[in-house]
Amino acid sequence: MTDFSPAAKVVKRGLVISTLGLIGLAGVFVLALGFTPVEARQGLAQKIFYLHVPAAWSALLAFSLVGITSSLYLWLKDPRLDRFAAASAEVGVVFAAVMLTTGPIWAKPIWGTWWTWDARLTLTLFVFFLFLGYLALRAAVHDAAERARFSAVVGILGMLLVPFVHLSVYLFRTLHPQPIVLKPSAPSLPTSMLTTLLVSTLVFTLLYLGFVTTRYGLTLAEEVREDARNAD
């Protein structure tokens, strides 16, 4: 009989963390709507920032960790690293989808256009497509060792784009706002706005952990099932 219990435990843990993250997200909405001031020039649309910035943080964290674990996989050949990279890439694409939909919704009332082909936006879209390609590659290659090796190379290349996304606002002329927290000088935000942003970033990191743990456990369960099928 196939033993799914280790995978099921990991999935259960992931779902509990994700649920806590989703409850935290509801708390972030309450904080953003009830406890932060309305920005004088941007109005209520500025509060999109409490969702957009942490989603961007989680997506770039996810893609960076894909690259790091992929590098380690090529060195150590530990299948857990490949499994983690796959989970992190999928979750990163989900957060990137949140970032790429909430950004234009903010841009329309503030810039007067949904989208502009400036460096930050274009690079972010490229990274999103690159990791969609990463997931397509994983689905297309059936040999586990080959899939892990090929996708590790793509994962590392994807990670190399992450610093360019963050620094693009300094490197190129761009419409996108400059960093207000992750910058050399102190954060330039009133305390209530900064607190809400930091709480939201923590909640999104928790969601990332929950989603990745669940996805990791599900892949582990699929592998156990596959091994049992091959043994029959």
Binding site: F4, A7, A8, V11, K12, G14, L15, S18, T19, L22, L25, F29, V38, E39, A40, R41, Q42, G43, L44, A45, K47, I48, L51, H52, A55, V91, V94, A97, V98, T101, T102, I105, W106, K108, P109, L207, F211, T214, R215, G217, L218, A221
Partner: protein, 40 residues
């Protein structure tokens, strides 16, 4: 001459749309994981 106070623009519908879409994506992904977990 006294400076006029700035009246924030009324664009709450964009905030609502962004929070709604963001929540739907995250909740949808969570539900897809949960449904897959039931098949283990």
């Amino acid at each position: 001459m006294r400076a006029m106070p700035i009246e924030p623009p009324s664009n709450g519908q964009y905030l609502l749309a962004a929070y709604l879409i963001g929540s739907v994506i995250l909740l949808g992904y969570f539900l897809s994981l949960w449904l897959k977990s039931r098949k283990i």
